[in-house]
Symmetry: C2
Subunit: 146 residues, 2 copies
Amino acid sequence: MPVTDPSEGRCSIARTITAVGERWSLLVLREAAMGTTRFSDFRHRLGIASDVLANRLSSLVELGLLERTAYQEEGSRTRTEYRLTAAGHEFEVVLGALGGWGGEHLPAEADAGIRYRDRLGRPVRVAFVDEDGHSLEPDEVAVSRR
Amino acid sequence: MPVTDPSEGRCSIARTITAVGERWSLLVLREAAMGTTRFSDFRHRLGIASDVLANRLSSLVELGLLERTAYQEEGSRTRTEYRLTAAGHEFEVVLGALGGWGGEHLPAEADAGIRYRDRLGRPVRVAFVDEDGHSLEPDEVAVSRR
């Protein structure tokens, strides 16, 4: 048996963890999902060092999760904004899964974080769904290597 | 505006990342989902150092994602097994979300990793679902602070 799993680089879970799984990257994506767009707002809301934030934003832009745009209000200097791309919005299901699991299994006295809702304002959760778009319970899902 | 987000400890996404988000913890959970139970098998399949693996396994047991049991086959010495708890099985939706996103947005030449299927053997995916258990597209989900 090999010491290193030869399929490691070919596992999409491992690839995603390598690319986006670092704590600050995930928290930057959470902030972006909540509407934060400016460098200074990310920095203050997360309490993250400027050099680390600059690094994570660049990496998320390079990976295609955020897009960087310049905009200028009349009479102001040019500002840079960071917004989720379509791929970034699709990543929200990962954040929703992390939050859903933690909300159930790591309870806190008060939960002040992010909340996902449908268009009617009703809470939504993250689940496995079958080809017809119907949710499945964990014991209805089987796992295998490809 | 505070330098550190005061809601940080109260965000279930951040709590889950802190508890389980480290790369090796996630890969140990992936291996457990695929049926690996023994220390030596985790070590060889992941190519992880023994001390790091021991640390991650203990942490996942403490958090209630894995349970540690002793078993003995006749004539053999006692072995320790690690198996997913119910909470551990519920965490699989996070792995499914990571894998689904990476499979779509971080393509590799060959994808040899984990695959989730329903009881009929059809592929399943991870998505937001509403209260009635119907899947929602990313643009049908809105996000807010609580």
